[in-house]
Subunit: 222 residues, 2 copies
DNA sequence: CTGTGGTAGAGGAAAAACCCTGAAGTGGGG
DNA sequence: CCCCACTTCAGGGTTTTTCCTCTACCACAG
């Protein structure tokens, strides 16, 4: 690294207190860094980013209102490919990690890592352009070895309009007969949709349907 | 305040990076504070807390594994009533805020407040013993004006250990017979818990149980 | 024109979920 | 000591869910 040029950083996270804390932490563990600005989410970043003073590094959260980490990363790599992105998130699902890496993330940090690791990641991304830990490579290797799980499997799963419609009703206390009534269909047809979903989603019961729908945000829980 | 005695603080949050950031921030905005220790969750706090060197103030998160903010606050107010608790959480649902205040929280901060407000809250709780913003009083007043919603209704609902245990298993694809097996009980006993829960939670089917459990964060969806 | 896939549905059977009533033991509070 | 709440469980019933095979129509691609 060249001590003459500080690492220019931008923070994107919807929790102000976390951002401020992170800034304070970064300045403490690595005074060589300078924070250009902060953003609440992807949209805010798009407005604040200055093409004539681009950051070296963006610390990006995933769960954000309006424009989330996935969209933001896609936009960044398309518009400003030179900007390196280090994902900082509390989720550590394999699927999420792998997806972010595919979209061009230079590293992935969980929100409960040691500050020391954050410092190392900053330096690594700024100098070498990436920061891949065993945690990340582990997830990657595993996802390559098991191309049948979530990521790959789910990309194949395509539900028809009727199936989706039924799935929503299934996440209620209605019986299948009542659902059939609501959808103006024979209970036997509902029977067919259910079996079709059981196979597609690899579940074995109605509870499985409900859990799947909720996990994949196919229904909105009030 | 007495400048001679620093405010002794303990942080309870499952995200290390957030904790470290918060510490760094606190030390910056108020050097008068000293952080005794940090804990990952309520259980960790129980182990680390020292009765001969109690903190003045605990900054407590709500969503935590193992032992969450509600349980932790209950335990703290029962065992160490002198310790003041300031809740720092990202949720800002009225029900949650009101519930924490009822359990004895001295204030409630959302994770996206300004650091300035954090500083004010620290001082206010340490000196006056509380920190109630318009945000909080607003929620309180509203909950008093509408005592018919969740809070009141749910405050009556008390589940036994077994019922809670069963409820968690019910949120899976296991049949009741399999659950009975897991819990080392007769299927008939499970039958009883189910009926008891149906009545307590005002639901009519297993799907209703699942929806209730998820809506009220009684189970953790992976 | 034939195969594939979505839609819609029937009959029948087995399994699971649901709903009663009743009851025995345990442990704490009045 | 009695009542109450929690836990445990049984018998015996109905309803719902689940599973299986099989038919039929329509549209669209090869």
């Amino acid at each position: 690294m060249k001590p003459a040029e500080p690492i220019k950083i931008v923070l994107v996270d919807d929790h102000k207190l976390f951002r401020k804390g992170l800034i304070s932490l970064i300045e403490f563990i690595n005074p060589h860094c300078t924070v250009l600005f902060e953003a609440d989410d992807g949209l805010d970043l798009q407005q604040k980013i200055n093409p004539r003073n681009l950051p070296d590094l963006v610390l990006l959260d995933i769960n954000m209102p309006r424009m989330d980490g996935f969209e933001t990363l896609q936009w960044l790599t398309r518009i400003y490919p030179s900007v390196k992105v280090l994902v900082v998130s509390m989720v550590e699902k394999e699927e999420t990690v792998v997806r972010m890496l595919r979209l061009g993330a230079r590293g992935f940090l969980c929100k409960d890592v040691e500050p020391k690791e954050l410092g190392e990641a900053l330096i690594s991304v700024a100098s070498k352009g990436f920061y891949y830990t065993d945690f990340i490579t582990g997830k990657l290797v595993h996802s390559l070895q098991q191309p049948n799980t979530a990521e790959t499997t789910r990309s194949q799963i395509i539900l028809t309009t009727q199936e989706t419609e039924f799935l929503k009703w299934a996440c209620s206390e209605m019986t299948y007969v009542q659902i059939a009534d609501k959808m103006c269909l024979s209970p036997k047809t509902i029977d067919g949709y259910r079996n079709s979903l059981f196979e597609k989603l690899a579940v074995k019961s109605r509870v499985g349907l409900v859990l799947y729908a909720i996990r994949h945000n196919l229904v909105t829980l009030a």
